[in-house]
Symmetry: C2
Subunit: 314 residues, 2 copies
């Protein structure tokens, strides 16, 4: 059984894999176009190098292990058609992303950006507006692995959590769960609205100007999911006209965010360059996902953890 890794892992990680799985031939750290790929049964990839041409060349490919959470840019129809199993590392992001969400929520509440400005001016001014998180309400768009972890932490801070998904089925660590269709009527309750939704046909453009009008004027909107959830123009308008209080944006319609975007310099916007899931422990964790599935695969069990349904896209 041959396995190709198209991204870099550390020397000791390579050695560990080779010693743990002596029956498997690993090819590490080779870009997809650097040589023939027809012998590989398994390709371990971040996903962005898998094109329809690559699929045509990968004659032996049976399992695509994608060490990333979003697969919407991959040629899913062709993957389905060729009967290739595809799995990802859903859940790998939950710790860093939940820490990121809480970091932004608490930093804004405790006025850390304002205090940092004062420090630069050597200004001692204690009259800074600070709020308490406890007792507030958060609406979480996408209460899956990541959203529920955010919910768990928010509940520890005494926050009421409302989950919002397509089905309206109850989700862990949500005091309540509503459907996408019921969003407008619940938004007025939320002090914080957080999206960790993937990009699917159902989530693209889900938020309209009416949703922002329904939010509290003090609401903080946070998007750590995908930028196509809302048109940038709608967001800019909501932020300029005070429909909401603040936005924390890690994802954008166009990435990198173009220099001419108004979002960069609006005073009530926090921009980060799609890093909410980053972590020094990422590859270590991804390899844990991979090896757990590899052992299933070796034993003939094709029911891998984190299988993706290429037709649904998640």
């Amino acid at each position: 059984m041959n396995v190709l890794f198209t991204f870099k892992i550390k020397d000791d990680q390579m050695k560990q894999l080779e010693s743990d799985y002596p029956g498997i031939e690993f090819c590490f750290n080779r870009k997809i176009d650097e040589g023939p790929i027809d012998e590989f049964e398994i390709i371990v990839t971040y996903g962005e190098d898998i094109t329809t041409k690559v699929l045509d060349r990968a004659k032996s490919l049976k399992w695509l292990m994608v060490a990333s959470a979003g697969v919407e840019k991959m040629p899913l129809a062709e993957i389905a058609e060729k009967g290739i199993v595809i799995s990802n590392v859903r859940g790998i992001h939950k710790t860093p992303m939940a820490e990121t969400a809480l970091a932004h929520i608490l930093a804004l509440g405790r006025a850390l950006p304002k205090l940092a400005e004062q420090q630069k001016q050597k200004e001692w001014n204690a009259k800074v507006r600070q709020t308490e998180l406890r007792g507030s309400t958060a609406l979480i768009l996408g209460p899956g692995a990541i959203g529920s972890e955010i919910g768990r932490l928010l509940q520890a801070f005494g926050v009421r959590t409302i989950g919002c998904n397509h089905s309206g089925n109850p989700a862990p660590f949500m005091d309540e769960t509503i459907q996408f269709g019921g969003l407008i009527s619940s938004l007025p309750e939320a002090d914080i609205v957080i999206s960790v939704l993937p990009s699917t046909e159902k989530t693209k453009g889900l938020l309209t100007d009416n949703h922002f009008k329904a939010m509290k004027e003090t609401a903080v909107f946070m998007n750590f999911g995908r930028g196509d959830l809302v048109k940038e123009s709608i967001l800019v308008e909501a932020l300029k006209n005070g429909a909401i209080g603040h936005a924390v944006l890690d994802v954008f319609e166009k990435e990198p965010l173009p220099a001419e975007s108004d979002l960069w310099s609006l005073p009530n916007v926090t921009i980060s360059p799609h890093v909410s899931s980053h972590s020094g422990k990422y590859i270590e964790r991804a390899l844990e996902f991979f090896t757990a599935n590899l052992e299933k695969w070796q034993s003939g069990d094709k029911n891998l953890t984190n299988l993706i349904d290429p037709e649904k896209g998640y």
Copy 2:
């Protein structure tokens, strides 16, 4: 029974008190020197206006209700001598202070200050060093009401907590509790060292240069307690020579922090102007403490909540 409030509360809060306690005569919003105070059995104060002269004038004073947590600057010996009961609002700070501590911890871990700098430059750079909080170890100096609340939240993030107090007695939400004397040997384990200690004879100058040498070079030291825990010169030296990674300082030997202090501009220091406990809900909460004790007092029960032992200072 006459009650004097020496700090401002809102009109609706005054009305509520007057309607809830019709047998009591309240005098609101009058500074201590603005008139005679000899008729007041109870004075509700932030504490800083209570001097020995005031105590001599307050002939009927039996209970000092201090709507603050630190009482070390008050004339405690004279208060004890006159047999005046003194209580504070210990615990009122626990929510905002724990939120502040977590805000700083998470913001540093997720590199929010660095990302804010990049936003100003409209710079899209995802190669920012970010760490995970989960799996790290925090040492909490002063695992009382506030310290334990910080511990509770840190445990929710998967952090191991070591409490450190004078007695070494177990404290809530601490995986382990050590004595002040055992500090040096536990410091090398801690990724984060947080002090919420009050100022007492035992805590003044508790941290020496040896303590900072014992910390990890990557350690984040946070002081939300009192500035006299460590000499500023020791702290500056530890930060300049890389004995520790970063400091978050909300309290200082001298406050306001003098403009000439090196701390203002060290790149690995976050300064805030003694605001970790601030909250829009402060007076609302303080009144809850006051009225609970007032009802005890009216019924003749002198065993108030949050009594202070003037000889211990806490």
